[in-house]
Each structure stands twice: as C-alpha cells, then as structure tokens.
Symmetry: C2
Subunit: 554 residues, 2 copies
C-alpha cells in the first residue's frame, strides 16, 4: 500500500458537482476541494447532497490538509459538514477563497475554529511530504487556482475549474509561464476539468460579455434588470462599470449576491467608482433610464429575487413595461423549465427579455475542447485523469488526451470511489473505496437514507392510506374502528364511499381470520388488513397508496 | 353572443402540449385537436394531463365535430377521455391520423364506437354552417394537415404543426398552391404553430437526416442501434432504407414503435423492400455489421427499450463494445437529464454514442422564424393568433407577424381560456371561460385535485408522522398508545429515540390539557398532539413532516 501514490475521487467524477479528490501516499493524504451538489427533483425534501467521506474518516489521522481551488459551492460547500470530523486539519486557499469560506462557515459558527492558511500562486507550501504550489487560472469567480503537488513519484497537477481567457476583465490570466515551468520538470499526472469536454472550439472571453452589455445599455430606454450567478463577482463588477459609463447607477438585490460582493469588497476584489452603487431602497428615487439592477435568480429558483419580481411579489422592484431584463447566465441542466417559467412571467408583465442563447450576454467559465487540448499539449502528462464531469464527458476528455499523445493505457476514466494506484512500475486501478452521496435535510446530515427516500417517493406518488383499529387483548374483538385516514390519494369529497367500502372489506376480512379456534395474532391482523386494503384499492382505482395498518390493543 | 366568431383556446396556448382549440359561431362549435401533456416531475404520481373541457360540456349540444390535424399524442391523446362525453360527435382526420386514432381508442374499447370521418386535402367537407377543408403540411409524422374553416366573418386557417420542407422524404410537400388559393380569397384569421418561434433561420429538411445516417452506416463496423420518436414513421422508414443500402437488416424494438409502424404499414404508409425488416428474436442470428436496430427511448424514459438496454436489462439486445448508438431525436425540455443518464450508461457499456447537437441526425418537425414569416407573407391574414407554444414563444411569434404587416392591434397573444371575439366591428378579448388542467392517474380522470397534489408534495418532501392514541370515552384516560408510525422522515434505526421522546412530549402535553375540571374534547386532544409534535420535531430536526393524530375512543 505504501509503495504507490493513490488517486481517489470521492466526488465530481462521473457527475457534475460535489467535487472532492483525495491524494494518498503512505501515511499522508491531502484532499482537494469539498463541494456540494444541489438535489435533483427526485430527491424529495432534500436540501443538499455532499460526498460520503467515510473513507477519509477511516484514515482520519492521515489527512494532512484540505486544499481549495476556488470558492464555488460545488468545490467548497461541503466544508461545514466535512469540518465536523476534520476541524484539526488546516484548510488552504487564496485570499478571496478563504474570505468567502469564512462567510460561509460563519452560518455554521465554524469561522473562528477553522485553521485557514492563505496561499499565493507561485509561493510553494509544504504539506507533510508534499511540496505544493498553486497557479492562477481564469474562472467565473476571481482568485481561482490550479494546484501542483510534488509526490514521491512525480508532479501531480489538479486543474481546478478553469478556462484560458486572453482578455480577462480582472487582468488576471491563466499563468502560461508557470505552466511551462511545471511542464519543464515533467508532469506525472494531470487531472483536468471536463465540464465542457463535449463542446468544440474555444470558450469566448469574459470581455465578450462586456461588449454585449454595452449594446444593451446603449439601447435600453427604461431600467436594465440583469441576473447572473451571485458568485460571479467579476461579471457583476463589469456590469456595474458599463452601467456607469451609460449614466446608470446600480442596485444589487438579493441576499447571496450581497454577501459575495460585500466580502469581495472588503478584500479589495470589488473596487468601484464613487456613487456607482445605490441601496435597493433608493431604486424608486432614480429615473428609469439611469438605473441598473443586478439580482439573483438566474436559475429560476422559486424563492429568488428575480422569480419574485416576475410574479409581481418583490418588496423593492415591480417589473413593468419598458424594463429590459437580461439573463446573464445559462440554465444549468435540469433548471431549463424554471428559467423558462421566469422568462414567461416577465414577458407577461410587459418587459423586454434578453434570454436567447445567441444573444444573452454570458460565457462559460470552463474550457472547451481546444483549450483542453492546449493545456494537455503544454503539460504533456504521463498519466491523465479527466475530472469534474459526467461519465460521457470524462470519456470525451480522455479521448482528447489520447489524440494529444497520452498513451491509451495511461488515460484513466475513473469514477467516485475508484482508486488509481501509480508507482514506478506503472499505474493500475486498485480496489474501490466507500463513496457515494450523503443527503442533508434540515439539521441532519446523512440521516435521510435511500430507504427513507424510497418511502417519500412512494407516498408522494400515490398517497397514504391509514387504517387504525383497536382490539380487545383478551377477546380479539374489534372495540373501536377501523378508522381510516388518507392523504394524497383521492380528494376528501370523493373518499367517503371508498372509505366506507374499505371499512366493510376490512371487517369481512377480519371475520374470516378470526373464524378459527385461535385468536389471530397482531401480525396476522396487520397483514390481513394490509393485503385486503391494497388489493381492493388497486382494483378500484389502479393506484397503490402506501397502506399502513395500526393495531391498538386495550 | 351570436353576432361574433369566438376563438377559444382550451389547451396548448401558453404551454407546450395538450393542444385544443374551440371555434364557436352562434349555435355551432368545432373543436380542433384534443391533445394530452405528459406530467412534469412536480406532479407526483400523475400519468397524464388533459385539458379541462367543462366549457364544451356546458355547450354540449353545440359541438358539431372534432377535427384532428395529425396523430401525435399532444394533438390526439386526450380523445379517449374527451369522447366519454362527446361520443355523439364525429371525429375528422386524414387516413393515417384516423388509423392511428383507432389503434389508440382500441385500448379504451372506443374504436368501434367512434364516428370517424376521413378527410382528404383539397376535398371540402361541411360541418354545420362551416365549410371546411384541409391542406397537406410537412411534419414529423406523415399525413398531417392544416385546416381552413369558412365562417360567417371570413376564412380561419389553423396551421396544425408544420414546417416547410422542400425535399421531404415522403415526397409530400406543404401545399403552396393551395395556400396561395386560400390567400387569394383573403384570410380573416391565421392561427399558427409557435413551437420554434424563438429559433432563427430555417429548420433543415428531413433529407438532411438521411445524409447523416448514410455517413454513420458507412463508417460503423458493428451494429447500429438508433432511437427516435415512435411516431416518426417517415424517419423510421428512411433509416431502414439507408440501412438496406449498406447491407443491413433492421429490427424494430419497442411496443409503441411496433404499434405505429404496423398501423402505418396496414394503411400503405410504410412500404419497405422485401427482407429489410427482421423480428427482434432474429437479432442474434444476424452478423453485427449487417444489423440495424431501431428502438424507443429517445427521451430516456426509464421503462423504454433503450434505457433497459443501457442498463444491460433488455431481453433481446445487449449493448456491447463495437455498437454505435445513434440518438435521432432532441431531448424535450425537462428530459435532458434522463437522456444524459442513458448516454452515460451506454458509454459505460463501451458503445460509441452519437448524441452531440451538431452531429446527431435529427431535425425538428416545426417551422423556424423564416418559415413562420413565409407563411404569414403568403396568407397575409387580417388577424393573427400564435398557438402551440409557451408564452414567450407566442410573444415572439406575434412580433414576427407585426413585422410582416399584421396591424399591431390585430395580433393577439391569448392563452388557455381567453376568448377572442371577431365580428364585423373588429376583434376584442371577451370574458374568459373555464380552462385548466385535468389530471389522469390510474383509472381516474380528474379525481386528483390540486389539494391532493399538495398533500402528496408535502408528505413526499418531509414524510409523515402518525400518532395513534386510544382514550376512554368516559374518563378521558389514555388506555393505549400513543403509538407512532413514521414513513419518509428519518431511517427506522434513528427513529427510536425521536419516537420515545415525542411520546413523552405528547403525554406531558395531554396531562396539561386534562388538568382542568373538564374532560378535553377529541378535537382539543387532536390539536394538542398536532401542535406539540410539530413543534418538537421542527425544533429537533428542522423538518416538517405531516403530523396526523388519530384518536380512538373505547
């Protein structure tokens, strides 16, 4: 075990979200990122999904550090839950990443307890046996980095989330010189972001967004209301600056966007001209043609500011004819319908909405195929592991790497829980470790299991049908009930007849059971009721509500 | 009321799906289409959604006919339910449309009872006071038509679903000559398909799909497995013919596709070269390079043939390395994730999958902006109503019509239940009529109400927590229980402690209630239990399961 380097994805490999990668060598483990995932619609009632870290818990004393590549939720959002077990482990990140991490940890009262250590690209730091460093990358949040980790077997490069942007709006380019220096020493393993491995060509520069906004602001007569990701601090800054050029002052509306920009401002990442920003309360005092509003809700989230505006239900902003609403974001797969609903509602209020894929001012923060190729060509790694993507994206990215010269046997498509073992003798897939999803619901972490989810889905689909009966312990006679309570099955006004007939069926069924010499056992009564009711209801309605018999004994 | 023509959309206007339009003049109503919609994920346990036809029921004696434009589910799928009240009304459609309708009605034992009347494009037919006719249109199912209805106020044109395809694979073009003849007499009102009103340019010809399949078949070494919509009979026929050119014989796998193609063959719409088709049972007898499989599952539907193949769970087809799987369809909005899951699973089995938007052989059956403009320009209607689309699409289509010369006051964006009244004095929006959704679940139509859906969502999200207690009618003392049953809340192993403490809280709460002189009423006991339990569970878990107290008296 100790004579190899072990690469163990615990999240984000074979899926989008909850990114987490463990790198293990002998008695030392470093963890890159600790992200969350938002639940899909099948996960009824779930708030968040985080990686299963039981593998790390089983090797608690070996974990030396958590390194953060940037401050997005899918890279940092699981930290408050992971730190419950790993508060003794230092967390490394750049200035803004740590600032935003503290804001997040404050809600969990962990911001004072975490051992946060700031890193600067180009300044190496030591973690156990690993000499580590970071390099600047462009992404849709400032101060993002890729990581290098010197191991006993060679240099491992973890790309983080990245794109090449030759004209970034914050002037901070992906650091080609540093990449070349890394390449010069030889790269053992590259792990690289596959989010857009299916997309041909180059991802356009963030500057392109500015050009589109410039045209929009020039044309709009009334207010410009725009929505984007709350964490896209460079985008928000850019919009405010362009608005100012066109004589518009900007209000930021939405709690999460307020949080991000406030932290960014405190840390010097969000410097704006005097008077460019106004408070949302002042919106009504500014003439329409001199106003810009930036708000949350780019994914159509039902409780977001924009969704509420679109329903005419927002405290500060009433959308009206003459407003231009700009969707400066792409719907994340799965959110298309929510976004469309918001756009429809805005149209109904008479607003002009700029949302068409070809027209809306938005570019991705992830590298497309030509950029992925360029990185592979600069670094020329011996081994390649595509990360951050669903399975098909990983396959596409692995094929690209083979086209670019990685030996076909050295490109590994692995998924969460797989272990890639690299030694001087080569690389191979080892035995799997525990991995998977942990559901966060309310206060609880991991206390909603698959079986609970199945129950929720089952009762959610056909409702519940409850039969309560009280029997005499001695005689086995029914002394009260059957009482029936049903929810989510048929409307109350229609239920009366079904309930009456079911009650009779139960009594008939029990009479049969009790007709022998012996008193029926409670379990038998329960089964009889369950089967009688289930089959009667299915016959009558072709539905299968969850039937729950409760037997009380007095 | 009788001195106007009333246009009343009952479905499909302001949404995609369940298309249905009523056209009313004096004592006569004709209905165009009776479609269904598939439920979205929020509609737990619902099988189908159909239009609310209470308006038609309230004027039952006035309904003269149902006209079908084509045999897609979103235009014809509600017919079995609508006919329950309107079996006395004749249904008009072209040969294939009626053939597929009969297949559908057979499942509901209505195929012998329906009064079906075949129409032929260019041969007028009379319905009450309306002279009607149809004209051929290109769409993704053969034998589709648009309709003309001569009213007392002028000609109404209903486009159905359509595109202009100058090189359709079945040789049946949209009939320009007929459109020009209609235009020559003047068009009072055009209602036109808005599905792709957001898309610039022209929709490519179905022939383009053939060219792409030709390349795929030429390159593939192993089997070609392709999926498309079961109703896309021309597409299926085209694939079989191209496969035959490349020496491949084709098996059709999937019940619904089998049904569609069988009916089409019986009616002469699906003539194939001898030996081109084989039975799915023969798949294993044909060498891989000589085999083509066409199957259902283009939307990733979990029970479809392709989804089962992708999970290695299909009776006749095991996907393997060397197979080329072709997605000859676009994911319908909302299905993206299901389709991606299928593609991922196919990659895991080692298949090559052709699914990229730029590469997959698929074209839409709906007209894009330039085609919409061309139809408007040919027909030059006085009034325009965009149909078949979500609100923003209707707005976009209405704007196009205004660009093309329709007077801005004569382009009406209306939605389900709105009434457009046209008379010699002009057109205006009248009083709304009843409209909306009816849920079909199991055997029942309309017996799942909004309140049932809310209950399902609520218990589905946080589970259910049931408290059963038996009290003595005379003394008010608890004689059994509280018993607690909980589902979908927390796993059983974690529930023990919560259940114990909740039980104690209930007994404490009841003790307080009973401490006075009077026995508490059942309603009071129920409320006490409900409130005690709800607040305790929320405090402890931050969740709100549905709490159901059941009080038994003995």
């Amino acid at each position: 075990m100790t004579d190899s380097l072990r690469i163990i994805p615990l999240g984000g490999v074979g899926e989008i979200g909850k990114n987490m990668m463990a790198i293990e060598q002998g008695n030392d483990i470093v963890v890159v990122d600790a992200g969350l995932m938002f639940p899909d619609e099948e996960m009824l009632g779930i708030d968040l999904v985080i990686p299963d870290i039981s593998y790390l818990k089983s090797k608690k004393d070996k974990v030396r550090a958590i390194l953060l590549t940037h401050a997005h939720e899918d890279h940092m959002g699981a930290l408050p839950y992971v730190l419950r077990d790993f508060l003794h482990v230092p967390v490394y990140g750049t200035k803004l990443t740590l600032g935003l991490m503290r804001t997040k940890l404050r809600e969990h009262r962990l911001d004072q307890k975490v051992d946060a250590r700031e890193i600067t690209p180009g300044t190496p730091f030591q973690i156990g046996p690993f000499e580590c460093d970071s390099y600047a990358v462009c992404h849709s949040i400032p101060d993002a980095v890729g990581l290098t980790i010197e191991t006993a077997y060679g240099t491992v490069v973890h790309s983080g989330d990245w794109k090449f942007d030759h004209t970034p709006v914050d002037g901070r380019q992906t650091d080609f010189a540093r990449l070349s220096a890394i390449a010069a020493k030889g790269v053992l393993l590259l792990m690289s972001d596959s989010t857009r491995a299916e997309v041909a060509g180059y991802t356009p520069s963030e500057r392109h967004v500015g050009e589109l906004f410039d045209t929009i602001m020039a044309r709009a007569q009334g207010r410009v209301i725009t929505t984007t990701f709350a964490s896209n601090i460079s985008r928000i800054k850019q919009i405010i600056e362009i608005a100012a050029v066109w004589g518009r002052r900007t209000a930021i509306v939405g709690r999460s966007m307020d949080n991000y920009t406030r932290t960014a401002r405190e840390l010097g990442f969000f410097n704006l001209p005097e008077g460019a920003l106004i408070h949302p309360k002042e919106i009504d005092k500014v003439p329409d043609g001199e106003l810009c509003i930036i708000t949350t809700g780019s994914q159509g989230e039902p409780t977001s500011a924009l969704s509420r505006m679109a329903l005419g239900d927002h405290r500060h902003v009433q959308v009206k004819e003459g407003d231009t609403v700009v969707m400066s974001a792409t719907p994340i797969p799965g959110n298309e319908e929510l976004v469309s609903r918001t756009v429809d509602n805005l149209f109904k209020l008479g607003a002009e909405v700029i949302y068409d894929p070809g027209v809306r001012p938005h570019v991705s923060g992830h590298a497309s195929q030509e950029e992925l190729k360029l990185l592979l060509n600069i670094l020329r790694p011996k081994y390649f592991v595509p990360i951050h993507g669903e399975y098909r994206m990983l396959v596409r990215h692995a094929r690209l790497s083979i086209d670019l010269g990685v030996a076909p046997d050295n490109a590994f498509v692995i998924t969460n829980g797989d272990v890639l073992e690299i030694s001087d003798r080569g690389a191979k897939i080892g035995e799997k470790v525990a991995s998977g999803v942990v559901y966060v619901d309310g206060l609880g972490v991991g206390d909603v299991s698959q079986s609970v989810m199945r129950d929720r889905w089952s009762i959610g689909s056909d409702g519940i049908f409850l039969v309560v009966i009280t029997i005499d312990r001695q005689t086995g006679q029914v002394v009260a009930g059957p009482d029936i309570v049903t929810k989510g099955f048929v409307p109350e006004e229609d239920a009366a007849d079904i309930v009456d007939r079911t009650r009779q069926k139960i009594l008939d069924g029990l009479a049969d059971t009790q007709s022998g010499e012996h008193l029926a056992e409670v379990a038998t009564i329960r089964d009889t009721i369950h089967d009688t009711v289930t089959s009667y209801l299915y016959e009558r309605t072709k539905r299968r509500p969850m039937v729950l018999p409760v037997i009380m004994q007095v």
